[in-house]
């Protein structure tokens, strides 16, 4: 029998047992919707991580004090601008001029700078705020940063008591927005604002930082030795070389600091490595949640199998009739397999619609899960996800239908005909 005829008969069976079929389909719809929604959360997190880490620049390698590979994460990111990095540096052996010299000799490094960072009390028009301060090499920094100027200028070689202000601090921190040429006070020292940065929105960017010449930072921040750095950043000439250069830098530092693997007191990260770590985390989470959703798919599959068994039983007489007028076992098998595949397909289609709907509603539900920050949660439904979901649901339909369909096909014509 031709496939389109088998399909017609399969549809005929479905059309004539609407209620049961719909109930079965609901099982699959829920399963597929759950998988789609959950995977879309995972994809959203992934994209979030990628876009936010974009602010770091793919060609930047950061070395910061502190031991252990376990701590490689975004906290160890750019220049220790995040709270917590300075705390670590207080206990660990700080990075020094010597380290900078050592790193300078690594091939493929285009720029290098040592950075000091910390937190300071900032006053502006009578308002007070605690801000992250970063002291940078005025000439090198502008070559290395991915931040762009909103207004004003970058730091110059002879600058001392001037600052560049991160976009968010300038806009949101004070009642009166900060603008170029304003005077602010940090740790009781006066600075002139010479530049305002554009907001990047990422983790690694300079949105929440005050950038000043390193000399000024050493004089302003507490606990900063005259020869020490809180982090060193490298810019590599070619993005492809990030990994080998990281290795090389690691090796050279270990030697010059006379360290064994166990005593390692610094960490090296790149935006790439951070991204990979983050991706690993989100992927593991998506996989875990997806597995939970898959359980509901399993339940749906059992539902299909159950319905198919009932359907085969109910159709026994008709199977006998069809065999008596020339249906082969393979014809019967095909009809019932298609029947359950259609159940899977319809369930899958409705499931991806429902799943996409849920996934687009999730961010509005105010679920600020996993600390995805002030933007809440993003969900992303990719076409691939939908295609996979559909294939999986059809597959589940067919797998669940195999045994009932096989049973139906193996019925002996006389026995089937006798069935009432």
């Amino acid at each position: 029998m031709k496939i389109n005829k088998s399909l017609k008969l399969a549809v005929n069976i479905i059309v004539h047992s609407k209620l049961r079929t719909w109930l079965t389909i609901i099982g699959i719809v829920i399963g597929i919707a759950a998988v789609v929604a959950i995977v879309s959360i995972g994809e959203g997190m992934q994209q979030n991580v990628e876009s936010r880490l974009g602010g770091l620049g793919a060609d930047i390698i950061t070395i910061s004090p502190g031991g252990g590979r376990a701590s490689v994460g975004f906290r160890g990111g750019h220049g220790g601008g995040m709270p917590g990095s300075t705390a670590t540096s207080a206990t660990a052996e700080n990075l020094t001029k010597k380290d900078v010299l050592v790193l300078q000799s690594v091939e493929g490094v285009e720029y290098i700078q040592g950075i000091v960072s910390g937190r300071g009390e900032m006053y502006y028009l009578g308002e007070k705020a605690t801000v992250s301060v970063e002291g940078v090499d005025p000439l090198v920094w502008k070559e290395m940063t991915t931040s762009e100027l909103e207004s004003g200028r970058f730091l110059g070689p002879s600058d001392y008591n001037v600052v560049i202000v991160g976009g968010r601090i300038a806009k949101d921190t004070f009642k009166q927005p900060l603008t170029v040429n304003r005077i602010i006070t940090i740790e009781e020292k006066a600075f002139k604002v010479v530049g305002i940065l554009k907001e990047s929105g990422g983790f690694g960017g300079d949105d929440n930082k005050i950038i000043m010449p390193i000399k000024a930072a050493r004089d302003t921040l507490e606990d900063v030795g005259s020869d020490e750095f809180d982090s060193i950043t490298l810019k590599v000439a070619n993005t492809d070389d990030v990994d080998p250069i990281m290795e090389e830098a690691d090796k050279k530092l270990m030697i010059s600091r006379h360290l064994t693997e166990k005593e390692k007191d610094f960490r090296i990260s790149s935006s790439q490595s951070i991204q990979e770590t983050m991706s690993d985390i989100t992927q593991t989470m998506t996989l875990f949640l997806g597995a939970i959703a898959a359980v509901s798919l399993l339940v749906g599959a059992v539902g299909i199998a159950n319905t198919m068994f009932t359907s085969v039983l109910e159709k026994t007489k008709e199977i006998g009739i069809m065999k008596s007028i020339g249906a082969k076992n393979s014809d019967i098998m095909m009809i019932f397999l298609l029947n359950s595949a259609i159940v899977g397909l319809v369930g899958g289609l409705l499931g991806i619609c429902l799943g996409t709907g849920i996934s687009s509603l999730l961010p509005f539900l105010g679920m600020r899960l996993m600390g995805m920050g002030r933007d809440g949660m993003t969900t992303v439904v990719t076409p691939m996800l939908l295609i996979y979901a559909l294939l999986i649901s059809i597959g589940i339909g067919m797998v669940a239908g195999v045994i009932p369909a096989y049973r139906a096909s193996k019925l002996k014509p006389v026995d089937a005909l006798r069935y009432e």
Binding site: M1, K2, K5, N12, I13, V15, H16, K317, E318, G320, I321, M322, K323, S324, I325, G326, A327, K328, N329, S330, D331, K412, P413, V414, L417
Partner: protein
């Protein structure tokens, strides 16, 4: 196509006991013959029809269809034989109740991969012939018993089989409708020279056949021959 049964046994296993339904049947049915099988309830008539029609295989003995032993047929060859060589008519009509009259009649053609327009044309032709031209889109539940049996006969004729097997085709019909069905089967026999085997209790219907096989407890009790002319005349 000649049908030959050689020492055919059918034994049903009912738990520990064996129930023989056919006990060594020897019979030859010639091409174009109109044969009736009669006998008391439980004598093995349906069992015999089923093994002749390839719906079941005998426990012992051989059945030859056109010279081929069906024991050597695989599942798909048996299905093909049922689909191409044999047309069944049942007491309970056995229509697919979710398909219309037309779709029911087209179904055996579709199992033989006949394309839809041809199948449709053929089915409509036969349905017109049995006087159901204005009922083709009715579901079985919207047809009377006699009409349903006519659809069933149309379905049996659709693939133009050489053998028609009818197991009590009039059993569920009143005598007048039954008469009509039998007239129709006789007509097919006369005009198309098909081999027809019917099972019946009805004494009057038995008389239409050219030969009557009387079964008793799974054995042939006697065979009654009738001159060919009389076969139709007695109607």
């Amino acid at each position: 196509m000649v049908i030959q049964l050689e020492n055919v046994w059918k034994i049903y296993q009912m738990g520990d006991i064996q129930v023989p339904a056919l006990k060594g049947i020897d019979l030859e049915v010639k091409k174009g013959e109109f044969l009736a099988i009669a006998g008391a309830s439980g004598s093995g008539k349906s069992t015999m029809m089923n093994v002749i029609g390839c719906l079941d295989l005998p426990s012992k003995g051989k059945i030859f269809l056109g010279g081929d032993d069906i024991a050597g047929f695989g599942e798909s060859k048996l299905a093909q034989t049922r689909g191409q060589k044999i047309g069944f008519v049942f007491q309970q009509f056995n229509l697919i109740h979710t398909l219309t009259a037309l779709e029911n009649v087209m179904l055996p053609l579709e199992f033989q991969d006949v394309d839809t327009p041809t199948a449709r044309k053929k089915a409509l032709e036969i349905l017109n012939l049995v006087g159901l031209g204005d009922r083709v889109h009715h579901l079985p539940s919207q047809l009377s018993g006699g009409e349903q049996q006519r659809v069933a006969i149309s379905r049996a004729l659709a693939v133009d089989p050489e053998i028609i097997l009818a197991d009590e085709p009039t059993g569920n019909l009143d005598s007048k409708t039954g008469e009509f069905i039998m007239d129709f089967l006789s007509e097919i026999h006369r005009n198309n020279s098909k081999t027809i085997i019917i099972v019946t209790h009805d004494f009057y219907l038995v008389k239409r056949a050219e030969r009557v096989v009387y079964l008793k407890d799974g054995e042939i009790e006697r065979i009654e021959h009738k001159p060919k002319e009389q076969g139709g005349e007695f109607a």
